[in-house]
Amino acid sequence: MRFFTKFSELDSTLIPKGVKRCSFQCFLVWIGILHIPLMVGVVATLMCWGLALNVTYLNNNFPFGLWIAADLGIIALGAGAFFTGFLRYIVKIDELKSIVNFAVVVGVICYAAAQGILGVDIGQPLRGWFIFWHANVHSMLTEVAFCITCYFMVLCIEYLPLILENRQINKFGFPRGFAHHLHEAMPTIAAIGVFLSFFHQGSLGGVPGVLYGRPFAFREGFLVWPWTFFLFILSAIACGPCFTILITKITEFCARKKLVKKNVIDILARISGRMLVLYLVLKTIDTLYWVKVAGDVGAPFGSFYANQPYGIWVLITELGILGVIPAIILLSKKTRQNEPLLILACLLNCSGIFMNRWIMTVQTLVVPVMSFDKFVSYHPNWVEYASTLLWLWLGAIFISITYRYLPIFPQEKELNPL
C-alpha cells in the first residue's frame, strides 16, 4: 500500500500542469486490461520464433500474407506523421501545430509496428541486419528497409522534445535547452522526414510494381520506378491525415474531453479529401492502362477476377465504396464538419487504402500465372492476427502513457479549463 501511494504521488508529479487526468488506479486498470490481448500477441510472436513459421497459414503459394499487407497498410496510415510535419514546418500551416505532436506519436507507433511485424515475418530474424550489410541497391525492399529505419530515427528525434518537455524533466536546464534547439531544427528534421517518406512510401509501391513475372501487380513506370511507386505515395498522403484524425477522435473519446479544435481537424480532412480525389483520378487512369498492358502479355483482365472471393467486387469496393464515398464526404464542408460523417469518411478512406495494400500483395499471389496453375485461397490464422494486433495494443499503451505524462495537445488547457 505504501509503494502504491508512493507511485501515485510520483504519477501526479509527472502529469503536466493545468490538465486533469484519471486517477492512478484507473490508469493502472486500463493498462492492465490492454495487457490481456497483448499477451496473446506475445505468445503468438514467441510461437513464430520458437516453432518456425509453419504455425501460420502462409505457404509456398502465399509467401506474403497478413503480415506484409499489414506492414504496407500500417506505413500508409502512419504517413500522417510526415505529411502533417510537411504541412506544418514547410508549407507553414500554423494551425497544425496543435496536432503535429500527436501525429508524430501515431507515426512512432506505426513505424515501430511495421518493423516489429517484419521481425516476426522473416524466416531468420537474427539475420535481419543482412538487408543493410549485404544490401542489394537494386531491390525495392532494400530501399524500403533503409528509408524506414532512417525515418524511424527521425520520428524518435521528433518525439524526443515531447519527453524533454515533461514537467519534471523540463525543470532541468540542459533538457529544456535541448528541446528548444530541437524545435528550432524541426523544419530541417521534417524536411529529411519528407524526403525519406517519399522514398519508402513509394518503394513499398515498387515492391509489387516491379514484379514483371506477375502481370496482376506489374506496372511500367518512370525510370526504375513503376507507377505504383507514385500511387502509393499519393494514397499514403490521402489516408495518413485521416488516420491521425481517427486516432485523435478515439483518444478524445477515451479521455472524455476535446483535445484539438475543430478547425485543425477540418484543415487535415480537407487536404486529405483533395489528395484522395487526385489519387482516385490517377489510380483510375492507371487501372485502365493496366488492363491494356496486361492484355498485351496475354493476361486478360477478366482472369484476374475469375475466382471468388476475388471477384470484380474487389475493384468496385476499393475504388468506389472505399474511395469515392469518403472523397465526396471530405470535399464538402457541410459533410466534413458533421462529426459522425467525418469519422465514417476517415474509416472508409483508411480501409480503402488498407484494402489496396492487401490487393497488391495477397491478391497478386492469388492470381495464377502459369496456365495450369490453380487459384489457391489464403486466410490468416489466429497466430498471424494476434502477432499483428499485438502492435495495436502496444500502440494504445504507448498513447496512453504519452498522453498522461507528456504535453502533446497544446490546445488541451484552452479547451478544458480546470
Binding site: A52, L53, N54, L58, N59, N60, N61, P63, F64, D121, I122, G123, Q124, P125, R127, G128, F130, I131, H134, A135, N136, H138, S139, M140, L141, T142, A145, V207, P208, V210, L211, Y212, G213, R214, P215, V224, V297, G298, A299, P300, G302, S303, A306, N307, T361, T364, L365, V367, P368, V369, M370, S371, F372, D373, K374, F375, V376
Partner: protein, 263 residues
C-alpha cells in the same frame, strides 16, 4: 545484357534443359532423384501437401479438358527455369528483388544461385517467381534416424527460415570442373556435367547441356518447331525448353487465361 566475367574459363555457358513432354510419363523419378541428390527435407505428414513441401523439381499434370474419348493428359516436370530476364531493368525476376543479394545470376554459367547462409527469409523472391520454383523451409528439417549417413556431402543442409530452389545441380558442375582440371582440361564434355533429374529419367525425356554449344543436344532441341517455354511472353527468358507435338500442350506455356487451371 552485361558481358560475362570470364572467371578463368575463357568462355560463357548457358546451361539449360530440353524436356520432351511426349516422352514424360509422370513417373516422378526426377523428383525423387532431385530430393536425394540435394538433401531435400520432407515431412511424412505433408506428403500430399504441395503448398508446404520442398519440391525443387515438381511434375504437373495437365489435361486438354475434353471428355472421353478425346481426353488427353500430359505431364510437365518443372525445375527452376534459371531465367535470364530481358534487359538491365528486367533481370532475373527473383535476383533483382532479393534485398540481401542471397541469389545471383551467373553470366558465366547462366545458373541462378542461392546462398542459404545469407538468405534471411523475406520471401520476396518467392512472390516474384511466376513458376513457383522457390520453396521456403517452414520447418526445421527432421531426418529419420541414420539418414544423415546418406546425405550428399556436396550439398549443404538448409535450416528453417530460408528459401531454396533447384540449382541445376551446381555442385556437380563444380565436381566436374575439378575433375577436368586435375586431368589438365578446362572444357567439360557434355556427359561430365548432368543434373540428377536428367540422369534419373527412365524415358530419357530430360536433356541437359549448354544451350549455346553446338555440340550439345539441347542446342538443336531448343530450335525444334515443337519447342516452347513457359510464360515466354512475360520476358523472363527461361532456360528450360519443353517439346511437344501436341498443340494443346504447347498452349500450356501461355499465361493463365481465367479458366480454372487443369493442373
Amino acid at each position: 545484357m552485361k558481358e560475362a566475367h570470364h572467371k578463368g574459363h575463357g568462355r560463357i555457358y548457358k546451361y539449360g534443359m530440353a524436356i520432351d513432354l511426349d516422352k514424360c510419363t509422370g513417373c516422378g523419378a526426377c523428383m525423387v532423384a532431385c530430393m536425394a541428390e540435394n538433401n531435400i527435407s520432407f515431412r511424412k505428414e505433408n506428403t500430399n501437401d504441395r503448398l508446404t513441401q520442398n519440391f525443387w523439381m515438381r511434375v504437373y499434370k495437365i489435361s486438354n479438358g475434353r471428355p472421353f474419348p478425346d481426353s488427353e493428359i500430359s505431364y510437365i516436370p518443372r525445375p527452376c527455369q534459371h531465367c535470364e530476364g530481358r534487359d538491365h531493368h528486367h533481370g532475373t525476376p527473383c535476383v533483382s528483388v532479393c534485398p540481401a543479394t542471397a541469389t545471383d545470376y551467373s553470366h558465366e554459367t547462366g545458373i541462378v544461385s542461392q546462398i542459404y547462409t545469407r538468405c534471411f527469409g523475406c520471401r520476396y523472391c518467392m512472390a516474384a517467381c511466376p513458376y513457383h520454383v522457390r520453396v521456403f523451409n517452414w520447418w526445421d528439417p527432421k531426418w529419420p534416424k541414420g539418414m544423415n549417413k546418406s546425405f550428399n556431402p556436396d550439398v549443404s543442409i538448409r535450416m528453417r527460415g530460408v528459401v531454396e530452389k533447384c540449382s541445376f545441380c551446381y555442385h556437380r558442375l563444380q565436381r566436374a570442373r575439378n575433375k577436368a582440371y586435375v586431368a589438365g582440361r578446362r572444357e567439360l564434355h557434355e556427359d561430365e556435367y548432368q543434373t540428377a533429374c536428367t540422369q534419373a529419367c527412365p524415358a530419357g525425356a530430360v536433356t541437359f547441356g549448354d544451350l549455346i554449344n553446338p555440340k550439345h543436344k539441347v542446342y538443336k532441341l531448343k530450335d525444334s518447331p515443337y519447342a516452347f517455354r513457359l510464360l515466354e511472353k512475360l520476358g523472363t527468358n527461361p532456360k528450360v525448353y519443353y517439346l511437344s507435338t501436341k498443340d494443346w500442350v504447347r498452349k500450356a506455356g501461355k499465361v493463365f487465361l481465367g479458366n480454372e487451371g487443369r493442373g
